[in-house]
């Protein structure tokens, strides 16, 4: 196995600053976060991806750069987009350019003050919701963003998002809100919102028969929380990682998610969320409670 890269940087001050700029600073303030109806025993956002695109989101690979925050953020937004489209939103799904989120977070938001790789979750959340926005994969003049590039990610991480892309990014802003606990996460997931999870929690690479990975070691890392299941009466959250399709091994667990992630115990995820740099994203203003469109 090649060396794996993480890239989350903890910065409580940056988080606090962003909270003062968001219309809904924390998930508990949103309609979805306050919804007190019984929650389903499972939520699998990847089924929205299958419905919208015909398949799972492809396993993500950040490669040899500490861009996990960009990947966790992009993945969470992509799941939110799929759920919103499935629920009747007329937008077209397009994969996002993680390089732009990485450059936007590190340079456009944080002013390039971080010397090594990595980013704060709040920086990425601020870039996609306040300072900049999203750049869907595609060609923009002479800039070809159709496929992910580690070299471009490093370059944008050092010098920022090209000026000609910034107006484009601001056409596609999303809303962000902080998720601080497992119950908040469940409520946001039940309404179709993907969550970037930044923490220092590590895990074993091998999944058990239920697709669960046990906590192990320490990763300063950002991943994407995209669903949950109830297994033998206990709750587990599904986390998508950005280390390719074959880093994690074993059965993938309930709902047949992709091979790029694992289930983790709700108590472990709750501790991860309480490190206060995890964010849910919505392309629809105000994080409304999910309603069924019934278009199958």
């Amino acid at each position: 196995m090649s060396e794996i890269y993480t890239g989350w940087v903890k910065d409580d001050e940056a988080v606090d600053q962003l909270l003062q700029e968001l219309p809904y600073p924390v998930a508990g303030d949103t309609p979805a976060g306050q919804h007190d109806h019984p929650l389903p025993d499972h939520v699998h956002l990847w089924h929205f991806a299958r419905h919208v695109t015909g398949d799972l989101l492809p396993p993500a690979t950040q490669g040899e750069v500490g861009s996990c925050v960009a990947f966790g953020t992009a993945r969470a937004i992509e799941y939110s987009m799929c759920a919103e489209i499935a629920n009747g939103d007329k937008e077209e799904f397009r994969k996002l350019a993680e390089e732009c989120i990485y450059g936007g977070a590190r340079v456009e938001v944080a002013g390039g003050r971080l010397r090594g790789d990595g980013a704060v979750g709040a920086w990425a959340a601020k870039w996609v919701s306040v300072t900049g926005g999203l750049i869907p994969r595609g060609k923009y003049g002479s800039i070809d963003l159709t496929a992910y590039s580690v070299a471009r990610c490093q370059r944008y991480g050092a010098s920022g998002v090209p000026d000609e892309l910034e107006p484009e990014s601001r056409k596609h802003q999303v809303m962000a809100t902080q998720v601080r606990s497992w119950i908040e996460a469940k409520r946001m997931l039940a309404s179709g919102y993907g969550i970037s999870v930044c923490s220092s929690q590590g895990f074993k690479m091998a999944r058990d028969k239920n697709g669960v990975s046990q906590p192990s070691g320490s990763w300063a890392h950002c991943m994407c929380l995209c669903g949950y299941s109830t297994i033998d009466g206990a709750e587990y959250g599904r986390i998508d990682n950005s280390w390719g399709a074959s880093t994690h091994t074993g059965p993938t667990g309930p709902g047949d998610p992709g091979p790029e992630g694992f289930y983790a115990s709700s108590s472990v995820i709750d501790k991860m969320l309480r490190q206060n740099d995890s964010w849910a994203f919505s392309a629809i203003a105000g994080f409304p409670v999910r309603r069924l469109s019934w278009t199958i």
Partner: protein, 214 residues
């Protein structure tokens, strides 16, 4: 005496349908309205066979059959006292059964047909087949035990994997709108077996329509 004769004359009646239909080789029953106790039948055309009258429990009725398609005449008469009735002729039509009149499409089906006619996707034919198959599966799934709208929706959503939402999108939105008239949009709302049956019926109807259009 005259009155009695008139009464007798008035009772000598036999009413039969002018035409009866059936398939070749099938039994075709004829039951007249009559005051007579017995009715006699004679085939006027070769190929029409009458069931032996003595084996029938109703002596006014008959059963005929013909192995070949065609139009056959059957003469019938009865009598009351010593006064015979006028003979009547029944036309037995074999093998020319009129096909059932096509069912008029409902407003919902008409809307789907209009949408289908307007769709110009390059792969609309393969999408038509795929979506019809999806809705057949949905019709089966909707009859299963799901207690909440969200649970049913999630089960149906899983089935849609492989049929991207962009395929026949406008038509599927119309189907979704029809489903939304019978089940709520709150994922936590409890749904009844009757509602699930209605959902299944909509999907089955839609699948049948998609299978019938070209």
């Amino acid at each position: 005496m005259i009155v009695a004769a008139l009464l007798l004359l008035a009772g000598q009646k036999i009413e039969v349908p002018a035409e009866v239909r059936g398939e070749p080789g099938a039994f075709i029953a004829i039951t007249p309205k009559t005051d007579g106790k017995r009715v006699k039948y004679y085939s006027l055309d070769a190929g029409l066979n009458s069931f032996p009258a003595g084996l029938l429990s109703d002596p006014t009725a008959t059963v005929v059959t013909a192995p070949l398609p065609g139009r056959y005449r059957l003469l019938a008469y009865t009598a009351l006292g010593d006064m015979p009735s006028d003979p009547v002729i029944i036309t037995v039509v074999v093998g020319e059964t009129q096909p059932p009149r096509p069912k008029e499409p409902t407003a919902y089906e008409r809307s789907l047909l209009a949408i289908w006619g307007a769709i110009q996707e390059p792969d609309r034919e393969s999408s038509r087949v795929a979506v019809a198959q999806l809705y057949r599966q949905c019709a089966v799934e909707a009859r299963k035990q799901y207690d909440t709208a969200g649970a049913l929706y999630d089960a149906l959503l899983k089935l849609s994997a492989g049929v991207p939402r962009t395929k026949l999108a406008t038509l599927r939105e119309r189907v979704g709108a029809e489903i939304a008239t019978v089940v709520p949009d709150d994922p936590a709302a409890v749904i009844t077996p009757a509602q699930r049956q209605q959902v299944a019926d909509i999907y089955a109807t839609t699948a049948a329509l998609l299978e019938s259009v070209k």
